[in-house]
Symmetry: C2
Subunit: 68 residues, 2 copies
DNA sequence: ATGTGACTCATAGTCCGTG
DNA sequence: TCACGGACTATGAGTCACA
């Protein structure tokens, strides 16, 4: 599977496990709401600094977001 | 440690383990040679598609390149 | 609460070189 | 063989209005 798709699925799942809306999640992470929406649809090709931000907030390693 | 630093170290180590020059490695992966040089010095902020390319060629998961 | 198109500005990524 | 620079084009970062 495409790496963007994997990120999309992993991100959405992990956000939902925190019971956060995209809006609340985006606010907490410090990324714009629509950007999160794009990521969860695999519509963006983010840099690793974005991955790092997400992983840190979620308390996981970057690999957890990108690996299957 | 910074995620770019981690990538830099992991990448250099894994390339050297294959006994490839930056130039040969870059050619095989399909990325420009100067870009590999930049990555190994932590001077760049690559997108996840670049990470994917590197990981596939090296036969590892993206996490192996980004996690410590 | 979320998806989407459009937009500006910064930077990812390429290609030419040099010591 | 590699670090590093300059110049360039393509695309990501970040935001908004609207459905």
């Amino acid at each position: 599977m495409d790496i963007r798709e994997r990120l999309a699925r992993n991100l959405r799942k992990m956000r939902q496990q925190k019971n956060l809306s995209q809006e609340a999640f985006a606010h907490d992470v410090g990324i714009h709401r629509t950007y999160i929406s794009d990521l969860e649809r695999g519509a963006r090709n983010p840099t690793i600094t974005i991955i790092d931000k997400l992983a840190r907030f979620l308390g996981v390693t970057p690999g957890t977001l990108l690996d299957e």
